[in-house]
């Protein structure tokens, strides 16, 4: 791709960016949120047209591509913002627009389900090919996206943050697959904000900042520090700084006993959360972490168990009730659960705090504007204005709005479900720092994440879930010290998670 430029209204998403990828290479595309990564990849996939510049595929030059042409030329892509049809089932999505036909020319749904099952099998994950996509968890949807891209057998495979909702186990499987494809001579473009992944898998890295090409070098030329410096345009400390002391006070604010969900029986969660404490929750995909968050926030009915809040047993019947009790939930699926995509940033942020925006039936727009501007600044949300529609923002910046909207409610207990998904390395540090600052103020945080490094960094204690049960709680001090082996805390944690508890 040569000298590609693209503007959205007043925003220069790309300025003369060139990118070249060779077959048999895994090429990492890096940059902070809103740098233009997704935009250039969408241009490559033909779903957006560049304002200027050319695209050269196997020596053939195009001014612009259409989705059909790009596909013919062997370009397959996983979009950052899930591009699945929610009303169709998994197999139908995997084979959308390339369905296998029976001899009579009709779609062979059975063959589709069989092949999908095979693909998932080869990936070593279990997703029901006949399940409707709308009923899947975010992680399963991401796996479906991956299967869809793989089924296309593309020569150039583009993956725009394929792992933001996946846990270490699935990431390992994906990496094995990518290495195999690379060995077969395919070109792979890989976008991720998880730095460890880049160093594990990539051969070459290209860095964008503010729509400009900063650098493109073999990965071996980079160190973690220099890569982060390139991405952020300044030195940023990595996650190790968070080895802070716990700010937990003695008072237990939330106590959960033997909680299980009505929608999936057999769960059993007990824990207590103290004021000023950050409780991390780890687990494999489908371990029931998000379910727990929803139960605590009144969004999923409880079959049995008790929730004791500030010493009183409560039955939380709705999110509204939960908000009134001083809880907040940053949900994991920003597009479905977090945002009204067609509404502006301000409109989204004021939604959970309408009550506080004046005591009259009218919305105090001035107050709301100030709150919004504050948050845009505090979270460094990259946008042209607070009036911009949420769906005109890059994925990471959308995620920041969701965090912001719940910070604005000033809760006592903040539940965060994969809050850093899609957020760049610099902002991730900001978010984690924010979490610690809130804890220091005496707020309590339940922090759910599939990225164990940040979990280990930010939490005071880490609970491990498996199959709907909370199987084990590990103190951070225990994780960091003790044991003579050289395993890093993160790797130890992963072992525990993988085993489903039992830290022997």
């Amino acid at each position: 791709m040569d000298a590609i430029s693209k503007r959205f209204g007043g925003v220069h998403a790309l300025r003369e960016v060139s990118l070249s990828v060779r077959y048999g290479e895994i090429h990492a595309l890096l940059g902070e949120n809103g740098a233009g990564k997704s935009t250039i990849l969408k241009i490559l996939r033909g779903v957006q047209a560049p304002d200027s510049g050319n695209i050269v595929i196997k020596g053939e030059t195009f001014e612009r591509l259409s989705p059909q042409v790009a596909r013919q030329k062997g370009i397959g892509m996983i979009f950052q913002e899930m591009s699945l049809v929610p009303t169709l089932n998994v197999a139908q999505n995997v084979f959308l627009a390339s369905e296998p036909l029976t001899p009579a020319g009709l779609i062979d749904d059975r063959a589709m389900e069989r092949s999908s099952a095979q693909i998932f099998d080869s990936m070593g994950v279990s997703v029901d090919p006949a399940a409707i996509v709308a009923d899947l968890s975010t992680g399963q949807q991401q796996l479906t996206e991956i299967a869809k891209a793989l089924s296309q057998n593309a020569d150039v495979l583009v993956l725009d943050e394929p792992t933001s909702a996946l846990t270490a186990g699935e990431v390992d499987i994906l990496f094995d697959l990518l290495r195999r494809l690379k060995a077969e001579g395919k070109a792979i473009i890989y976008v991720s904000h998880r730095m460890d992944e880049i160093f594990r898998i990539a051969d070459h890295a290209t860095v964008l900042r503010d729509g400009r090409l900063i650098d493109s070098r073999p990965i071996a030329d980079y160190t973690l520090a220099s890569l982060i410096a390139d991405i952020m345009g300044k030195e940023t400390r990595d996650l190790s700084e968070f080895a802070t002391n716990s700010t937990a006070q003695d008072e237990v604010i939330l106590k959960v006993e033997n909680l299980s969900s009505k929608l999936r029986r057999g769960g059993d969660v007990s824990f207590s959360l103290r004021r000023g404490e950050v409780l991390g929750i780890a687990g494999l995909l489908g371990a029931g972490r998000s379910r727990l968050a929803r139960m605590l926030f009144g969004l999923e009915p409880i079959a049995s168990g008790t929730i004791t809040l500030r010493g009183q047993t409560v039955a939380i019947g709705s999110a509204r009730h939960a908000t009134e009790l001083g809880l907040a939930l940053v949900p994991e699926d920003r597009r479905r659960q977090g945002l009204v995509l067609t509404h502006s940033i301000q409109d989204n942020i004021e939604l959970p705090i309408l009550k506080r925006l004046g005591s009259t039936p009218f919305v105090d727009r001035l107050k709301s504007r100030n709150t919004t501007d504050d948050l845009i600044k505090r979270l460094a949300i990259k946008t042209s204005s607070r009036e911009a529609a949420a769906n005109s923002l890059s994925g990471g910046n959308q995620q920041k709005i969701v965090i912001g909207k719940w910070l604005a409610t000033d809760p006592d207990i903040l539940i965060m479900d994969e809050p850093t998904a899609g957020i760049d390395i610099g902002s991730k540090g900001e978010v984690l720092r924010l979490v610690r600052a809130l804890a220091a103020e005496g707020k309590s945080i339940i922090f759910i994440s599939s990225e164990l490094a940040e979990l280990a960094a930010v939490s005071d204690r880490i609970a491990v879930m498996s199959d709907g049960r909370l199987v084990e709680t590990i103190d951070k001090t225990e994780l960091l010290t003790g044991d003579a082996s050289q395993l890093r805390a993160e790797q130890r944690l992963q072992l525990i998670v993988q085993r489903g508890g039992t830290n022997d």
Partner: protein, 326 residues
């Protein structure tokens, strides 16, 4: 920091113009249609104050219902029962006026709306029946009830106070109907744009899951919107009763389509999350102007139908073309 904020400011202004231009598209269509008739029909009395007031009077009921329908569509629902409910309310009001005078009439009309609204709302938000089906069923029920209690006859409204308040008279030179339309329009606009309730309506319509996750009682919001729609439809029925000094089951028949057309023409999305009350009223006026102009042109009914369809498409296409170049 200061630098980016400055950029943000200036872009806001530009963005503002673009957004308003897009939202104001129906106004352009309206003005074009109006000018067209003003020029071609200047010798046929189109521009006489009386004719202009006639258009307002003829449009008032549709416009009033369109205001509430804007809320309904914005919340992602639909109300097909408005026309039939207006007819039913005209009958109940007329019967109550005959029985107990104007206060009884007003009470009967409003109660009709509340009752219908609660039934529609209960079925839709508790039993989760799509509003398309509940209100379609209600359309038949309301019409049947109106026919039944009135024995399909017209119920005359003899008390002269009633039409003076609802739709018959003038306040100074201004028809009461116009006053009703403006009052309902202003209230509707403020509710949707300025109040917390309005924000919640738009959020529920834009993404009901996200709204629920944000602590909004989505069922209650929808219930309220459905009740408001039914009450407003009843008000329209009361205005019909005042204007025609009669209650009859056929009043308002088929209005649901005109109302929804006015709202969609005004720029509100059928799929929720986006709505403009002012646009809806302009949409209603536009349909009124077209109907009026085509009759004045002396076209046959069949030609009127064709021309109306053509003009609506032209007006929208013109405006859309505007959007794309913008």
């Amino acid at each position: 920091m200061i630098d980016t904020m400055a950029v943000a400011r200036s872009e806001t202004l530009l963005g503002y113009f673009k957004r308003t231009w897009r939202q104001n598209i129906i106004y352009i269509g309206f003005i074009v249609v109006f000018l067209f008739f003003a020029v071609t029909l200047h010798d046929k009395g189109f521009l006489t104050p009386n004719n202009i007031l006639n258009i307002a009077r003829q449009t008032a009921m549709i416009a009033v219902m369109a205001v509430a329908m804007t809320l309904v569509l914005s919340s992602g629902e639909i109300d097909l029962s408005v026309g039939a409910v207006a007819g039913l309310a005209s009958v109940t009001t007329a019967m109550a006026v005959a029985w107990g005078g104007v206060p009884a009439g007003i009470a009967a009309g409003v109660m009709t709306g509340v009752a219908v609204g609660l039934i529609n709302g209960f079925l839709s938000t508790r039993l989760m029946i799509p509003t398309f089906l509940t209100t379609l069923a209600m359309m038949g029920i309301a019409k049947g009830t109106a026919m039944w209690i009135s024995d399909t006859a017209a119920i005359p409204v003899l008390d002269p106070t009633y039409p003076a308040i609802f739709g018959g008279g003038n306040i100074g030179p201004i028809p009461t109907l116009l006053v009703w339309m403006l009052v309902v329009g202003v209230i509707g606009h403020i509710v949707l744009r300025r109040t917390k309730f309005g924000r919640q309506i738009l959020a529920v319509g834009g993404n009901v899951v996200a709204a629920r996750y944000s602590g909004i009682n989505t069922g209650r919001i929808k219930l309220w919107v459905i009740v408001i729609s039914a009450v407003t439809a009843s008000l329209a029925g009361m205005l019909y009763a005042g204007r025609l000094q009669t209650g009859r089951f056929q009043l308002g028949e088929g209005d649901e389509l005109s109302v929804i057309a006015a709202v969609v023409l005004g720029g509100t999305s059928l799929f929720g999350g986006k709505g403009t009350v002012v646009g809806s009223i302009i949409g209603a006026l536009m349909i009124g102007v077209i109907n009026n102009g085509l009759i004045l042109m002396g076209l046959e009914y069949s030609q009127q139908l064709i021309a109306r369809g053509g003009i609506i498409i032209l007006a929208v296409a013109l405006s859309q073309a505007g959007t794309r170049t913008a």
